[in-house]
């Protein structure tokens, strides 16, 4: 458990550090990109569904897989569309 806590605390610092100097121009793409990254819950949803024993777990898991996939692909595609226009 303390291992997980260590990871958490270190990740907080990395997160703060990484975006502390971003310019206002990129606020929107950055928010959208971070949005896509928390779609990693898809991994959790897959693991849960892949070991589901009851129908309830299966249904909950599958809905979660669906929603998380929308989050992931939608997030990355929208971010890319925005950034495409900055590339020049």
């Amino acid at each position: 458990m303390i291992d997980l806590l260590t990871i958490f605390v270190l990740a907080v610092f990395v997160g703060f550090e990484v975006v502390s100097k971003v310019s206002t121009i990129l606020h929107t793409p950055l928010m959208s990109g971070a949005n896509a990254i928390h779609g990693v819950i898809l991994v959790g949803a897959i693991l849960i569904t892949g070991s589901a024993e009851s129908t309830l777990e299966l249904v909950l898991g599958l809905v979660a897989v669906f929603l998380a996939t929308v989050n992931v692909v939608g997030g990355f595609v929208v971010t890319d569309r925005m950034l495409e226009m900055f590339k020049r």
Partner: protein, 452 residues
């Protein structure tokens, strides 16, 4: 071992993605790296973690792709903020569902496990319902004004208190019904939390809810003892918090004020009942004003994008430059419906990056600007934000266009801006109003300038 290694690769990709997204040069690569990391993580989870139901999972993923990609591809750039809100909301919902499912899968749980579970369910539900309300506000399916329910504050406090009580109860007595109840209370809390936030402040709420979803994902990482979820969720939670703070700073207000300081006086009616006069001009008047100026600043706002007039304004600016007029765009950090949104919209119309100037570049030299052209913007040039302590937007940095030698204000009607505040600038004797659709007016102006 291999699984952990793959998760580590994915985590590193996510850090690099956020890092890349912070600089315009590498932003797009950053996004690709993030997507690559996601692919690695998902394939790893599928190959090593799926005991059964594999086909079902693939079908659910396929459905998600079929829904997500067209939605993301077809959304107009003006509607990006609400799309981000929706994607954020479904992520939060997914986190809550994962925690619910795992709760039913593990009969003998530890207290720490239950703590992580209740947190995931609560934060995930708040993020989901809150995001849906922000979507409705930005899509203008409901009013963009702050909604103050009778006893809304007491309701919100009651919801917050009962959610804490339910969390504690579920930790003491692991019971599925209590957890479902917690999810429902969380949904209510999310709605009550976002309703009082005013239209112009909604993007800040989205950013905060984005951070919330990140935290929900991190908490679900504890539930599943999965390091990747902890790292990625925490990264988003932390960066989202910083981003929210940066945005609040750009608006010159504190976060607490934005979230809880719902505008008490919704409309400050112009002093007295007397009819106030405005000066409106013709296209030809404005063309002469612009064509013989030395120095012009264009301040675009969301109305420009709604009228799809980004290209029209670029052509007008190019024509003015051919006449030797020096032109810059003044881009307010919160122009549009999201911080940085206007930069995206103008970049889409091929406006060169170097012409986009920020507040600090424009304001010091504003007195030597001959004409300031305000197109579809309102609140970001409202002098009330600088001079009127009673104004709801007081304290927000603005373009001091009222200090320019003259102002052209293109407007569709006398309707107030997104924040619903009257603008003193309209009644300034230096101001010429040009009524009409922004695209239409700009096209006519271009023709008139060519005639000079």
């Amino acid at each position: 071992m291999t699984v952990q290694l793959m998760y580590l690769v994915a985590s590193v990709c996510f850090v690099l993605a956020l890092k890349g997204l912070s600089s315009p040069k590498y932003a797009r690569y950053g996004n690709f790296i993030g997507a690559f990391g996601m692919l690695v993580a998902v394939v790893t989870a599928y190959v090593h973690g799926v005991v059964h139901n594999g086909l079902w999972i693939l079908i659910a993923i396929a459905l998600g792709v079929v829904v997500g990609i067209p939605a993301a591809r077809s959304v107009k750039m003006t509607a990006i903020p609400q799309m981000v809100a929706l994607f954020n909301g479904v992520g939060g919902a997914a986190a809550a569902l994962v925690a619910l499912a795992e709760f039913f899968a593990v009969p003998d749980s530890t207290v720490l496990f239950r703590l992580a579970t209740v947190l995931t369910v609560l934060i995930g539900s708040v993020s989901f319902s809150g995001s849906v309300v922000t979507f409705l506000k930005l899509q203008e399916l409901m009013t963009t004004r702050p909604v103050l329910l009778p006893a809304g504050q007491q309701l919100a406090i009651a919801a917050a208190a009962s959610s804490i009580a339910l969390c504690a109860l579920t930790m003491a007595v692991p019971n599925g019904f209590l957890l479902w109840l917690l999810a429902v209370v969380g949904l209510a809390l999310g709605v009550l939390f976002v309703l009082p936030v005013g239209g112009a402040d909604v993007p800040i709420a989205i950013s905060l809810l984005n951070a919330f979803t990140g935290l929900a994902v991190a908490a679900s990482g504890y539930v599943l003892a999965n390091t990747l979820l902890i790292v990625a969720g925490t990264l988003v939670g932390a960066s989202g918090t910083i981003l929210t703070r940066l945005m609040a700073q750009a608006m010159g207000r504190s976060l607490a004020n934005i979230l809880f300081g719902a505008f008490k006086t919704t409309t400050v009616v112009a002093q007295g009942e007397e009819q106030r006069t405005v000066k409106s001009g013709t296209v030809e008047d404005v063309a002469i004003l612009l064509g013989y100026a030395n120095n012009v600043v264009v301040v675009p706002g969301y109305g420009l994008a709604v009228a799809q007039a980004q290209h029209a304004v670029r052509e007008l600016v190019a024509q003015l430059e051919r006449r030797g007029v020096s032109v810059a765009y003044g881009i307010h950090p919160v122009a549009g419906r999201m911080p940085g949104h206007m930069n995206v919209l103008l970049a889409e119309a091929d406006v060169p990056y170097e012409q986009l100037k920020e507040l600090d570049d424009v304001n010091p030299g504003i007195t030597s600007v001959d004409v300031a052209v305000v197109v579809g913007a309102n609140d970001v040039v409202n002098p009330g934000a600088r001079d009127e302590p009673s104004s709801p937007i007081y304290g927000m940095p603005i373009f001091d266009v009222d200090r320019a030698k003259s102002v052209v204000f293109m407007k569709r009607s006398m309707r107030p801006g997104f924040a619903g505040v009257d603008n003193e600038l309209l009644y300034n004797p230096k101001t010429t109003l040009l009524f009409g659709d922004a695209k239409d007016s700009l096209t006519k102006l271009l023709a008139a300038v060519k005639q000079l």
